[in-house]
Amino acid sequence: MEFLATGQEMSLQEKLGILTDAAKYDVACTSSGVERKGNGNSIGNCIKSGICHSFSSDGRCISLLKILFTNECIYDCKYCQNRCSNDVPRATFTPEEVCTLTMEFYRRNYIEGLFLSSGIVKNPTFTMELIYRTIWLLRNQYRFNGYIHVKAIPGADGELIRHMGYLVDRMSVNLELPTAEGLKNLAPNKHRKNILTPMRQIQNEIHSNRNDLVIYRNAPRFVGGGQATQMIIGATPENDYQILNVAESLYRKFELKRVFYSAFVNVNEDAGLPSPPGGPPLLREHRLYQADWLLRFYGFRAEELLDETRPFFNVMLDPKEDWAVRHLEYFPVEINRAPYEELLRIPGVGVKSAKRIVAARRSANLAFADLKKLGVVMKRAVYFITCNGRMMYPIKLEEDYIVRNLTTDKDRIRFGSDGMTYKQMSLFDDGNFTMPVNPQEKLQTAIGQL
């Protein structure tokens, strides 16, 4: 009861500070995957694409109110700043505080919903009950209809997880580390089996719920946004190939929606942990996410991208470029004829641009100038494609030559020499930077005032 007494003295702001700080290393801050209309008498809806409401100074999106219920914890995981052997300020919300914060933030359009995780108080089931009580209150008393993501706590009672699933949109169980061995070294209180059990349970519940929904259209949905997980990259000596294989089997065998990778940040200075010299391994994390996308949307398999002999990603090339230069026998690909699956494998062509190519070539023969309009990144694609049987420039299909061109700016083919230019697509432009001539200028030209 001691911590409860101190908890009451603390202001809401202090608590929010401590419990946000404690939750910030959790990566899954997405609000996508569920489409739910408002019901007319309560607050909230969900949008399929998800909505990011803000971006923090590390460039990560703030979509959900990401907090821990409490940072009290009985576990002693070496990588975690909330481990019981750390002397950090501790705080615990009351369910009402969490609900009020969520509602008030949501009304002001600050957030898309709530992400609630927790340190382990007493035992997993007790902790899960605390979370359940909070979410129940938020859904039923505060009538919140927006997005909720909670962590399922490994080792908690199965019945509790089942009930929880009907209240929330996404559940995730943290895998923490890619292999069981790593887990044993760094998180002595956690076991691989305990983590996979709730994961499997959620998967099975989603399946049976899907069958219910076919019969009863208005049956409550179980974890409509699917389940996710996350693992820490760089705290243990696994290579990228192992990690990617783990991710692939999670997608295949557990039907996860997302696997998140979190570059290891050393907060504890523990002897059992590496301290990466260049800060967190952000590039490695980035390459893993790129490969993750290739697995989920581009039809690649883990063993195509990496293998035992080359277990790490190339630092200079992204995984798709890397695959392409090693498989030049598939290239060049003819834009006007190649099937969708082959288009997807060209570096510089994404899902959207591949779809646009397929749609556009029905009515017109595509030339290089058109490809830019369709959103193809020419500076990458140019080495791998032909339009009407011709390449854009005389290019040797040779691994060394292409790698050199892809990685160095100096040797690059001079674009723009024949009036064609490329530019990097960014999120906020239309590829149209030239100033249009306005009517006034036209008038001036016509009457000779220029």
């Binding site: 008498n41 590390d58 002001r108 009515s363 999120l427 239309d430 009517p439 036209k442 016509a446």
Partner: protein, 256 residues
């Protein structure tokens, strides 16, 4: 060459398109213009906006090209670019003549007009989505939520259904600062628009509620705390959240 000069509104442009078809013009030699721009050897026709004709065109577009592409056309027309009318007109001509079918209006991106209309529409719908993200309500006295936005495109009408669906039991209003448009949503009733409004004064008259400053401070604190300082990356933040939105956002310093 025939130049139709019409009002800068979706209805005006749809009416002009209707007239171009009704008068059986050669579409390659016809321009819909929103300005007093002069062309050589052109014949100018002023088009008075006609709601009935506009509705006919809208229905045809929706029937022939499907709801999704019709929405893209509407988004393209919210743009402030002056060539939007011509781009949409030529796109519609392209679609009707080519008999492209539902959901395929914007397939042929190799065509300049189609690409232009597509780009304008994409830009506007992207901004609409960004507004759903970055709009911030402030609570005024009397439990009214108020937000000010300054979008490039005239997207307020596309924004309101989202918030009306999300906050059906709230009184809220959104003010488009660039156009003097105010959208009002009384709790439990349909929303409506007020033109040429002077709502900033309205907001000052009401004043912020007691709790408002407190929650703004809490959120600001939350945003600061959630960042991992080892991963600091202001450029990425700026790419994802351009500076122009930040004036109206509670968590940034420029907010007044």
């Amino acid at each position: 060459m025939i130049v139709y000069q019409c009002e800068d509104s979706p209805e005006g442009i749809f009416t002009a398109i209707y007239n171009a078809y009704e008068e059986k013009r050669n579409h390659n030699d016809t321009v819909i213009s929103l300005t007093d721009e002069l062309f050589l050897f052109a014949e100018y026709i002023k088009v008075p906006t006609d709601a009935e004709k506009a509705v006919k065109v809208m229905r045809t577009l929706e029937r022939r090209f499907g709801e999704e592409d019709y929405l893209k056309v509407c988004f393209a027309l919210t743009s402030e670019e002056k060539d939007k009318a011509q781009a949409v007109y030529q796109t519609v001509v392209h679609g009707l003549a080519g008999n492209v079918g539902r959901g395929h209006l914007f397939d042929n991106l190799a065509c300049d007009a189609v690409h232009r209309a597509f780009a304008l529409g994409r830009r506007a719908s992207r901004e609409c989505h960004q507004m759903q993200e970055f709009l911030r309500f402030q609570e005024l006295e009397g439990n009214i939520l108020y937000a000010k936005i300054g979008p490039e495109n005239n997207i307020l009408t596309f924004l309101m259904p989202h918030f009306a669906d999300r906050f059906p039991i709230e009184n809220f209003m959104i003010f488009d600062d660039n156009r003097g448009l105010l959208a009002l949503h009384p709790a439990g009733r349909p929303w409506y628009l007020v033109r040429d409004s002077e709502s900033p004064e309205l907001a000052e008259k009401f004043g912020l509620s007691d709790k408002e400053r407190e929650y703004q401070e809490l959120f600001r604190y939350f945003c600061r705390k959630i960042a991992i300082k080892e991963r600091k990356n202001l450029e990425l933040q700026r790419n994802m959240l351009p500076l122009r939105f930040r004036d109206n956002m509670a968590e940034f310093e420029k907010f007044s």
